[in-house]
Symmetry: C2
Subunit: 134 residues, 2 copies
Amino acid sequence: MATMTAEQRRRQAKLAYNAYVAECPSRQVLDAISDKWVTLVLSALDEGPMRYSDLARRIAGVSQKMLTQTLRMLERDGLLTRTITPSVPVRVDYELTPLGETILPVVGAIKQWSEAHIEQIHEARAGYDERNPS
Amino acid sequence: MATMTAEQRRRQAKLAYNAYVAECPSRQVLDAISDKWVTLVLSALDEGPMRYSDLARRIAGVSQKMLTQTLRMLERDGLLTRTITPSVPVRVDYELTPLGETILPVVGAIKQWSEAHIEQIHEARAGYDERNPS
DNA sequence: CCGTATCCTCCTCGATACTG
DNA sequence: CAGTATCGAGGAGGATACGG
């Protein structure tokens, strides 16, 4: 449309850019693993398969709702499998898939960088907060 | 308190666990870089210092508010510097610090894993959604 | 040019209660 | 045991308008 105002063109560009960013693989993966409980679940399962109740106990702060939601997301993304044993009472086991295992080194890299540099970050924050009170 | 109920003990444990997780270096760093605009800003600045308006143009989808907020966070964490030149009109330049540069490989690792495996994830999602309609 | 201030909306997440 | 259903508070983030 040649008759678009500059205003309209800017909005269009913004929408297009945001759609593009949303499709970005890095963005999708980052969104997935930055979820509060995801790394905790993945790390726990790295030590072997676990039942729902094991995970709930191990990750003490999580609510039932969030644990279930997190597990469903990870199952949907193919990072873990969910196996139901229809005994009474039922038993549900979760286990990392090979794909799920391949992402652990990435999480490990983040962990390593974090532990190596968190001190510097804290110092930077303290300095900044001192220079900028309020 | 020995007179605590089981209910109270569970709440205590949950609070303690959440406080512990909040302090975790990985958590803090993950929270920082998983922000929608952070990786885009860091990547842009990897190519060299930039003015505020350069960043705004380059990252087309961001609002002024979010761009400023993101830059302040990164400055506070010591990942970039902010230099004001009090000309008229003012000029503000942003530049990565050495610390900021060291985090780029981590972001790169995420990007690499994502691009290598996003296809598998999309297939897993499609399969899951087919098996679980609704 | 580089922001701040305000308002307003959506959406996440926890708490709680209930079920096969 | 392993969830689902519902509600409500709180925060993130965009739009808009204004300021140094």
